[in-house]
């Protein structure tokens, strides 16, 4: 639970200081920092390990005695990043605005998924930093945000060297370690970073985060046993902390690798039933409850599954979720003879349970729809159990109880389609109140059956009946023609659309060009592609058409234009130059082009293709290229 601990005055003082410090590169800060004038009046939290003169893990030295100040618990953090407040500071004018900001801070504690909450500095502790400290930390943070981790590492190191007694020191050490993780130096991060946070600042909030990150680091490098041990430490020492939630989530992942179902279920239960749901933990708990429910349904334990879902959902949402999460297991169980009975049993239990939940209130349209939804969920469950008669029966009951409406008919029609009964599906669509949508659904079902003539007829009925959306239905007719490989008819429609719907001319041009290309009329296709404005895609297509026409020189010119004008597509275009020269019989030019791909774009995946092609096709070992991943 997030508790607002700072008073309005504190916030006001803070914001005033922030206003002064709005520019992290202010000359004041620079002078203070560069001259190192700040006295080392800060201290370390109680910790018997580090002594005066000890070398700090990142180059700093312990110089001051331990300070017995009260440490700030993680529950007292706002969860607001310092930089957010920092950015907002220039706009703050008085205390009342500051209070509003504080209120927003409270309101922002709506649950959201964010694994990065552990690496934040609370606003209270940020307020305790001196200006020079904030200045230095801001510089480091800036580089961290810009993902320039090498520089960020040295900036955090600088902070630790200059302000080792600062309130922000454990935070800087933690972020230093996270930079090392990003630089793929997990061992250094664990042994010299996170462990140092725990050793030197054991009571700081960062120590708890560091304990979790040690486990995470070990897991990422495949040291599963050490990871488990580290996570267990987090669970034992800080069972109520957010880190424990993350540790459980990671442990669940490990049990998946180990195929340890028993432990996995225990951990799911812990997250579902025993974990307090906060803004940061809710998502994990919800996911665990869903996984536990699916597992329970799979095992035939319907009530356990419902219980798990009821921790997260209520009323109609719960009914929907039960149906949704039971469908998969039911479908899997009935697909095998030996588990078919179990699957049908779950489906029956689910239907009976949903039937019990049907609300009796049908006074308003919303209440009526809510009740009707229950019938849909029952039908879905029976459909998963592959009981066609029961599905039809449920839809009949729904139609009798609530009358025919387009949504119910659409669902029924879709279900008929799913069991390949297209004619019955179309019978349902034909009953729609919205006749335009009815024809649309009928046409689409014909397209699914590859009966394009019938689809075209249905769409054309819409062209006549819905003049407001003529372009939409005409384009659907053209699409149906293209699927039927009747490109001339499709092109004629696109030509018409060019005149009637000039707003979307680019789109029709592209589709027309594509139709010409698919129809084998490459010259015409090139002409239309040339009129399109979506460089380099149109050039890519034009070059492809030239190659189909065996005009290799033209194709190479176009690819070269792509190389010059679209750097992101350049490796691909260069590779295509190689292939085009190869088709043209210019072996040496092709080899040169492939080597150019390797040499100029050694980190690109097309370099891999060029390299392999040179070796397999031409038996050339000197492919050039070579790079390093830093």
């Amino acid at each position: 639970m997030v508790v607002l601990a700072a008073t309005a005055k504190e916030v006001s003082d803070m914001t005033q200081r922030l206003q002064r410090n709005a520019n992290p590169f202010s000359p004041e800060g620079t002078t203070a920092n560069s001259l190192g004038r700040e006295p080392q009046d800060g201290g370390y939290p109680q910790n018997p390990k580090p002594r005066r003169g000890d070398t700090m893990p990142c180059g700093g030295r312990v110089v001051s005695p331990l300070r017995s100040s009260v440490r700030f618990a993680q529950t007292r953090t706002w969860g607001l990043r310092p930089r957010l407040l920092h950015a907002a500071a220039p706009r703050l004018r008085d205390h009342s605005i500051a209070l509003v900001i504080a209120m927003i801070g409270c309101l922002s504690s709506i649950p959201t998924a964010s694994a990065a909450r552990l690496d934040e500095l609370s606003l209270e502790r940020w307020a305790k930093l001196r200006e020079v400290e904030r200045y230095q930390l801001n510089i480091a943070e800036k580089y961290y945000r810009d993902k320039n981790y090498k520089v960020a590492v040295s900036e955090y190191e600088k902070f630790l060297t200059l302000y080792e007694g600062s309130e922000g020191a454990p935070y800087a050490q933690l972020k230093w370690s996270l930079c090392k993780i990003e630089l793929r130096q997990q061992n250094t991060a664990i042994k010299e970073g996170f462990q140092s946070v725990i050793d030197y600042w054991p009571d700081s909030p960062e120590a708890v985060a560091a304990a979790y990150y040690i486990g995470r680091g070990y897991k990422d490098i495949g040291e599963v046993r050490k990871a488990k041990k580290a996570y267990q430490v987090v669970l034992d020492d800080h069972p109520k902390h957010l880190s424990a939630v993350y540790a459980v989530v990671d442990l669940i992942d490990i049990t998946t690798i180990d195929d340890d179902v028993e432990t996995r279920v225990k951990l799911w239960k812990r997250l579902t039933f025993d974990t307090e749901r906060t803004r940061e933990s809710t998502n994990h708990c919800v996911r665990a409850s869903q996984q536990l429910a699916t597992y329970s349904f799979e095992r035939g334990l319907f009530n356990d599954g419902v219980k798990a879902l009821e921790t997260t959902y209520s009323d109609e949402q719960a009914v929907y979720q039960v149906s949704n999460h039971a469908r998969g297991p039911v479908s899997r169980l009935v697909s095998k003879d030996e588990t078919k009975n179990k699957g049908e049993q779950i489906a029956d239990q689910g239907v009976a349970w949903i039937r019990q939940q049907i609300p009796t209130d049908r006074s308003t349209p919303e209440a009526k729809q809510a009740a009707l939804n229950h019938w849909y969920y029952m039908a879905d469950l029976q459909a998963a159990a592959r009981r066609e008669e029961k599905v039809a029966e449920i839809y009949d009951q729904a139609l009798k109880a609530f009358g025919a409406n387009d949504k119910t008919l659409q669902r029924l029609g879709d279900w008929y389609k799913s069991i390949t009964k297209y004619d019955q599906a179309r019978q349902q669509y034909a009953k729609f109140e919205n006749k335009i949508e009815a024809q649309n659904q009928i046409a689409y079902s014909y397209r699914q059956q590859q009966n394009y003539e019938a689809a075209v007829q249905a769409y054309q009925r819409n062209v006549a009946a819905d003049p407001d959306n003529q372009a939409k239905w005409s384009s659907e007719v053209a699409n149906a023609y293209r699927e039927a490989r009747k490109y001339d008819q499709a092109i004629a429609i696109y030509n018409e659309l060019m005149k009637t719907d000039s707003e979307n001319a680019d789109r029709w041009l592209w589709l027309m060009a594509t139709s010409y290309r698919d129809g084998g009329k490459h010259k015409e296709a090139i002409g239309y592609y040339r009129q399109c404005n979506n460089f380099p895609s149109n050039y890519q297509e034009m070059a492809g058409c030239h190659r189909a026409l065996k005009e290799y020189g033209e194709a190479v010119i176009l690819y070269n234009q792509i190389v010059g004008g679209a750097p992101k597509t350049a490796p691909w275009a260069m590779l295509q130059i190689g292939y085009t020269n190869e088709q043209a019989g210019k072996k040496e030019s092709a080899i040169k082009a492939f080597q150019q791909v390797c040499k100029n774009f050694p980190k690109d995946r097309y370099a891999s293709q060029a390299h392999a092609h040179l070796q397999t096709k031409y038996k050339i070992t000197v492919t050039l290229g070579g790079a390093k991943d830093e």
């Binding site: 061992n187 990422d220 490098i221 390299h611 991943d629």
Partner: protein, 501 residues
């Protein structure tokens, strides 16, 4: 073929000499194929013995072709035996010349040829035997008493012909049937011969009895990063004290002109190896032991990509130069099944697997690989030789071999990237399978190191044209992986020895 009785007049001293030579040859062959004593004397002796088979074979062929002994069968027998000797000599020669691809091809072609030569002898033998049976039957019929009654004569004839034997070389044997006995006999002979040949082939190449040993070089050392020292030598130019009023004109140099001469020296501050022992090597190694580079053969793809054109052998040589450890003179290849031939504490600590197509493993091969990695403490050094398809193939293969281990990106500060050479980045020739090295860990040990970008191409003679910085880093990385595998193997041997004590 018509059987012609003939007598062979082989001089007994020639036969005895050849027999003695055959025994020596068989011993040498056993050593060359399975025992593999790599002492120089043994190698020379082997070469002499195998080379001697050439003049001996020629002498026998000349003898068989001489007017005295001119007989086709004798010549065929001599040619067949000579073929075996000469084929073996050719394979041995290619092996000595380190033409690995040619050697492999010759071995395969020779096996096929041997099969057909054997088949020809089987056909000849069966035909000859059946003719003999037929002539015996004819003789029996001729000895039958003449009976005047045609019905009785027919009955007697039927009785004589119905006396079918059980002998497999007799086409009239009852189990060949009545319709097409000759054809059935030929099919049975072909099937029996094929099965027998396959079994013999398996016995010689794959199955038990072909025990192989891998021994690491004895010695010791520390598992540490090689330190680089820079020696700075100041060279102070000679200064002259000059009388400014001298009649001789001197160009006066600045007083403090000092030329710095920097010499970068990379010296081994320690011995590269692991454990207690003299010289670079590994505890648990033997005097004749050496680091070998073994490539793994697999079905479905091109395991032999760049094999025998310098890549592997360059790496092995570089490893020897950089670590001062004893290395084999040439690289080798083994099938997955052959890994089974290595006993637990004498198995290769690392095998190299590369290619760019498919990897197709049978369930038994998967089992052998799992046993090799987990029980024999081995390690696979995978290298993507040229496609993202191979990446998926390799990861899929490892998922089958180690289903409960998930691959992870190997950090740049991992032991394998630090010792003996510090590698601050991952070098690659082309990013076929991404830009990260993947590792499969069991109990903290890397049982598989997968390089995604064709490291083997950087080891070739032309280094694929990549920059010296990259291929140097590739050699260093290769050295690190080989060293890591051997050091971990050495630790394991040590711990097993401690447990035994």
């Amino acid at each position: 073929m018509e059987a012609e009785p003939h007598s062979l007049s082989i001089p007994s001293h020639r036969l005895r000499l050849t027999g003695a030579f055959g025994i020596v040859w068989a011993i040498c062959l056993t050593n060359w194929m399975w025992i593999q004593l790599d002492w120089q004397v043994v190698t020379w002796c082997q070469a002499i013995v195998f080379a001697a088979s050439l003049p001996i074979s020629i002498a026998w062929i000349r003898w068989a072709r001489s007017p005295k002994q001119r007989h086709p069968i004798t010549l065929c027998i001599v040619l067949t035996i000579a073929f075996v000797f000469l084929w073996q000599l050719s394979v041995f020669s290619y092996d000595l010349a380190e033409w690995d691809i040619a050697r492999t091809q010759l071995a395969r072609v020779g096996t096929a040829a041997l099969f057909f030569v054997g088949l020809a002898w089987i056909v000849w033998g069966v035909e000859r035997a059946s003719q003999q049976f037929e002539s015996q039957r004819q003789a029996a019929r001729a000895e039958m008493p003449i009976v005047l009654d045609p019905n009785t004569e027919a009955q007697a004839f039927d009785q004589a012909t119905d006396q079918r034997s059980n002998h497999p070389l007799d086409p009239e044997a009852w189990y060949y049937g009545g319709h097409t006995p000759k054809l059935n006999q030929s099919v049975a002979a072909l099937a029996s011969y094929s099965i027998a040949f396959m079994l013999m082939f398996l016995v010689f190449t794959q199955m038990g009895g072909c025990r192989e040993l891998y021994e690491m070089p004895a010695g010791g050392g520390q598992q540490q990063t090689i330190s680089q020292t820079v020696k700075v030598q100041k060279v102070i130019k000679k200064k002259y004290v000059i009388n400014p009023f001298s009649a001789i004109s001197f160009k006066v140099p600045p007083i403090d002109e000092v030329k710095l001469q920097l010499t970068e020296i990379t010296k081994h501050a320690y011995t590269v190896g692991y454990g207690q022992g003299a010289g670079a090597g590994f505890a648990g190694g033997t005097k004749q032991g050496q680091v070998r580079f073994i490539r793994l053969e697999y079905a479905g793809g091109d395991w032999d990509q760049d094999f025998g054109i310098g890549a592997d052998v360059n790496m092995l040589i570089e490893y020897g130069v950089r670590t001062k450890q004893k290395v084999a003179k040439r690289t080798e290849s083994r099938t997955i099944v052959q890994l089974k031939n290595f006993p637990a504490e004498k198995s290769p600590p690392m095998v190299y697997l590369t290619g760019q197509r498919n990897i197709s493993l049978s369930d038994s091969e998967v089992k052998i690989l799992r046993e090799y990695l987990l029980e024999k403490h081995g390690m696979i050094f995978g290298d993507n030789g040229g496609s993202d398809g191979f990446h998926n193939q390799f990861v899929g293969m490892m998922n089958r071999v180690l289903p409960n281990v998930r691959p992870s990106r190997i950090p740049l500060d991992d032991m394998i990237h630090r010792v003996p050479f510090q590698i601050p980045f991952l070098p690659y020739v082309a990013p076929h399978g991404g830009k990260d090295a993947l590792g499969w860990r069991v109990d903290g040990r890397l049982v598989c190191y997968y390089h995604p970008g064709d490291i083997g191409d950087a080891w070739t003679d032309d280094h694929s044209g990549v920059s010296p910085e990259i291929y140097e880093a590739c050699y260093q990385l290769g050295t690190n992986v080989i060293f890591y595998a051997h050091a971990e193997y050495s630790k394991w041997l040590f711990s097993r020895q401690q447990r035994k004590k």
